[in-house]
């Protein structure tokens, strides 16, 4: 630019030079940028040919090529993929049972009574002890014990596969499906990540370099059934769906029901990606490129470290930040009484008409409202609220205190007393798949997109679909029975 100290003469001179440059530029055939890129590449190739020697053809990456031919072959590509992911989920679910139980017994069974006693002996009034220990501490303890072990197993395994170079091949195999939905093949990787945790899945969409496809991946990530929702699915499927068939089929049928819900989630992912790319995201930028890096032995320790710090701790920290106030709200709503009934009871009564209309009940809806911070506390909250509403005080630990029952049968009889039918169970499973993402995820979406509008869309789209689907199921169900 022309500086302020320049004389009129030099200004005129500079303008003449600029005009001259413009004239020359217009005489260049084709695009200037292109010529520059071409020149850079040929210069780089010249330098490389002088400095790099290639002894024969031995440098041909034959092992890579063999692996690639197998994992992307028509015959073996998809079976290998399914097998690997089934293995990963199985390891996550079965492997996290034991540490989850240990954490729960440490944080809930041992530390919780100690804290309660400690608070009493220090002289806290009952309400302060209730908010801090029964509300905030217990909610956080649930979230940590349910969330931490699966994430600490799933994320490192995922990162190892990523590091090895297999995940880009999955994107390569599946891209055609995603292309038909108007999305990017790399979304298969972020969806997979979403099965671990939606917040982590949303962060993982950074690998998609095309803005439109990235937004699609962010908004639809919630349709991947996350870790916090798997336990709900398994419990409800075992109690209500598995019990519909003879005992020796029960395990298979309930597992099938959960898999069906997860598959439905993938269907909704593709469907809403298709709809989004043709409506609200029509004008956004779209490019495609997928690099398939060479395979390399994963760096195990580094991977463990980064996945624990970057993903697990990141997600856990946000979940804790949101679970603390949620615990307080749950406890307060169950313990502040207005006109003889607690706020929670009023809310359940108010939500009941809408909820029953779509085949759920007020307790479920209220649980989903107070459990926005973390899906993990849905079942404990539902149990606590059901006890409060039905007044069956032989179970539970008092108003506003979340708990889980050891025996499945006890849970079922409690829920049946709360008016649950098979329809309620089916719709709860559907609603667990199709509702707003947890607040951690919503906040992450807001951070990643930088827009409250997209965050709102990502929250309201699945919620609207959830009400629509449960409503339709309820209508059809009632029509046939």
């Amino acid at each position: 630019m022309i500086t302020s100290s320049s004389t009129p003469e030099s200004v005129a001179q500079a303008e003449e030079i600029l005009r001259e440059a413009q004239r020359w530029r217009q005489q260049i055939p084709g695009d200037l940028h292109e010529h520059v890129v071409e020149a850079i590449y040929s210069q780089a190739a010249r330098l490389a040919s002088r400095a790099v020697t290639r002894p024969g053809l031995a440098a041909q990456p034959t092992l890579d090529r063999t692996i690639d031919r197998i994992v992307t072959s028509r015959m073996w590509g998809f079976p290998i993929m399914l097998l690997l992911f089934a293995l990963m989920f199985w390891l996550t679910i079965s492997g996290s049972n034991v540490p989850s139980g240990l954490l729960a017994s440490l944080l809930v069974d041992q530390l919780y009574p100690m804290l309660r006693e400690g608070a009493t002996s220090v002289g806290f009034p009952w309400w302060l002890r209730g908010v801090l220990v029964d509300g905030m501490y217990l909610a956080t303890a649930w979230v940590v014990s349910v969330m931490l072990p699966p994430m600490a197993i799933f994320f490192p395994m995922f990162t190892l596969l990523e590091d090895f170079g297999y995940l880009p091949r999955v994107a390569f195999n599946l891209d055609h499906l995603f292309k038909k939905a108007g999305a990017h093949g790399k979304q298969s990787m972020t969806t997979m990540m979403g099965f671990g945790c939606n917040a982590a899945g949303v962060v993982a969409t950074r690998i998609i370099d095309s803005p439109r496809e990235r937004l699609i991946a962010i908004i639809t990530n919630n349709f991947a059934l996350c870790n916090g929702r798997w336990p709900t699915q398994f419990l409800i499927a075992t109690l209500f769906i598995g019990s519909l068939v003879p005992a020796h089929w029960a395990g298979l049928v309930s597992a099938g029901a959960v898999t069906g819900v997860a598959a439905l989630g993938i269907g909704f992912t593709l469907l809403s990606a298709w709809a989004l790319s043709r409506t609200v995201l029509k004008g956004e930028v779209s490019t495609f490129s997928l690099e398939l890096p060479p395979y390399r032995p994963p760096r195990i320790w580094q991977t463990l470290y980064t996945s624990l710090i970057d993903r697990t701790m990141f997600v856990l920290w946000r979940a804790i930040v949101f679970a603390l106030p949620a615990g307080a709200v749950i406890w307060l709503s169950a313990n502040i009484h207005v006109g003889g009934n607690s706020i929670a009871e009023h809310l359940v009564g108010g939500l009941d008409p809408v909820a029953l209309f779509v085949g759920l009940n007020g307790v479920i809806l209220l649980a989903y409202i107070v459990a926005i911070p973390a899906n993990e506390i849905i079942i404990p909250t539902i149990l606590m609220l059901t006890v409060m509403v039905t007044g069956s005080h032989e179970v539970g630990q008092g108003a506003g205190v979340m708990f889980e029952l050891d025996s499945d049968q006890a849970v079922k009889s409690l829920l049946t007393a709360g008016g649950w039918t098979t329809l309620t169970a089916v719709n709860l499973m559907l609603f667990s798949l199709l509702h707003n993402p947890c607040s951690t995820t919503i906040y992450t979406i807001y951070k990643e997109t930088g827009s409250a509008r997209w965050a709102a869309l990502a929250a309201l789209l699945p919620l609207g679909m959830g009400f629509l689907v449960t409503f339709l199921v309820a209508q059809i169900w009632r029509f046939f029975s």
Partner: protein, 342 residues
């Protein structure tokens, strides 16, 4: 208590409506003023385009362009005459100097904005024209100059229209309609008309862009067959009429038919990149260049996805997957001359 709340609400409501600059009334006035100005500028643009293409503008043609009744158009034109933008002479509309200057600015802003959308944002092609139709009324002359400088003073917009330099004459549309082009003569697609939108959307969905080399291979009742970028397009005469072409005497028809594109390459085959099609532009073009698909590069098909698309290519030592509609934008030659670098 209740009256107080009512008064506060009423005050808030009143302020929301009457607040200067951001209130509802002020916004409405601004929007109305902008709409009126946009309409005037659209008329000027229409008259200018008619002038350079030697078609006389009439009240009816103005009404047609604006989508209003002829009576409304007549009102508008007399208002513009009072403002000194146009004049009626010999029963014909003419631009006064101030009107001409404004019209040139609007055309320049429109075409520059289209170039900006095409080259720098990657906004879908069908959106370029509608967005530029809005933006042309919002850009000031200074902003237009800054935009031109940022884009490197482009000469043509993405539809192939010349972008007039500030203070320069507008050039008339070049080339003949594809319908009148003779058979088997190499042609350059010089311009694709962006109005009406539905026709343009169909052409852009087919992948036809200005700058492509093409050749009419057959004509029949209700169909024009066009060869471009290694494939045949069947167009209805209505579509073909919106494509303007100029002959390319220095290109032979055989060369045109011999052009091959990357999507035809089979697994294990090698080829040399000749060029990127002009149909590939903006961020997508830069992305391909950055990945190493520059003229002279040797490309080899590494593997094909189980669903046939995408295909992975080995280019300069790395493996990159492209979708078929991207691969068909890369022109290749089968004869692989061993480059000096190998």
């Amino acid at each position: 208590m209740l009256p107080l709340i009512f008064i506060i609400c009423a005050c808030a409501f009143g302020l929301w409506i009457c607040w200067p600059k951001v209130g509802l009334l002020a916004r409405r006035t601004q929007a109305r003023l902008l709409a009126a100005r946009s309409q005037r500028e659209d008329v000027l643009k229409h008259v200018l385009k008619c002038e350079v293409n030697k078609q006389p503008p009439t009240i009816n043609s103005v009404a047609g362009v604006l989508g209003v009744t002829p009576n409304r158009a007549a009102d508008l034109l007399s208002g513009m005459e009072q403002r000194g933008l146009i004049s009626h002479q010999d029963g014909c509309l003419h631009l006064r100097p101030s009107g001409r200057e404004l019209a040139m600015h609007v055309v320049r802003a429109h075409r520059l904005w289209e170039s900006y959308l095409a080259d720098q944002t990657g906004v879908a092609e069908a959106q370029w024209h509608p967005q530029a139709e809005r933006q042309e009324h919002l850009l000031s002359p200074q902003q237009t100059e800054a935009l031109a400088a940022q884009l490197g003073h482009p000469l043509r917009d993405p539809h192939g229209d010349a972008i007039p330099a500030a203070g320069e004459e507008l050039k008339s549309d070049v080339g003949q309609s594809l319908n009148t082009a003779s058979l088997n003569v190499p042609l350059l697609i010089g311009h694709i008309e962006d109005e009406p939108e539905a026709i343009f959307a169909q052409l852009s969905a087919l992948g036809l862009r200005p700058g492509m080399k093409a050749c009419v291979t057959g004509k029949s009742e209700g169909e024009v067959r066009l060869w471009a970028d290694g494939r045949e397009y069947k167009l209805s005469p209505i579509l073909a009429n919106n494509i303007a072409v100029v002959p390319l005497p220095e290109v032979r028809a055989e060369d045109l038919f011999g052009e091959e594109f990357l999507d035809r390459l089979k697994t294990g085959e090698r080829a040399r990149v000749v060029a990127l099609s002009p149909a590939c532009r903006g961020p997508e073009r830069r992305r391909l260049l950055d990945l190493g698909f520059v003229p002279g590069t040797i490309v080899e098909v590494e593997m094909t996805s189980p669903l046939n698309d995408p295909v992975a290519y080995r280019v300069r030592g790395s493996v990159v997957a492209l979708r078929s509609e991207q691969a068909r934008l890369i022109q290749i030659a089968r004869e692989v001359t061993v480059p000096a670098t190998a």
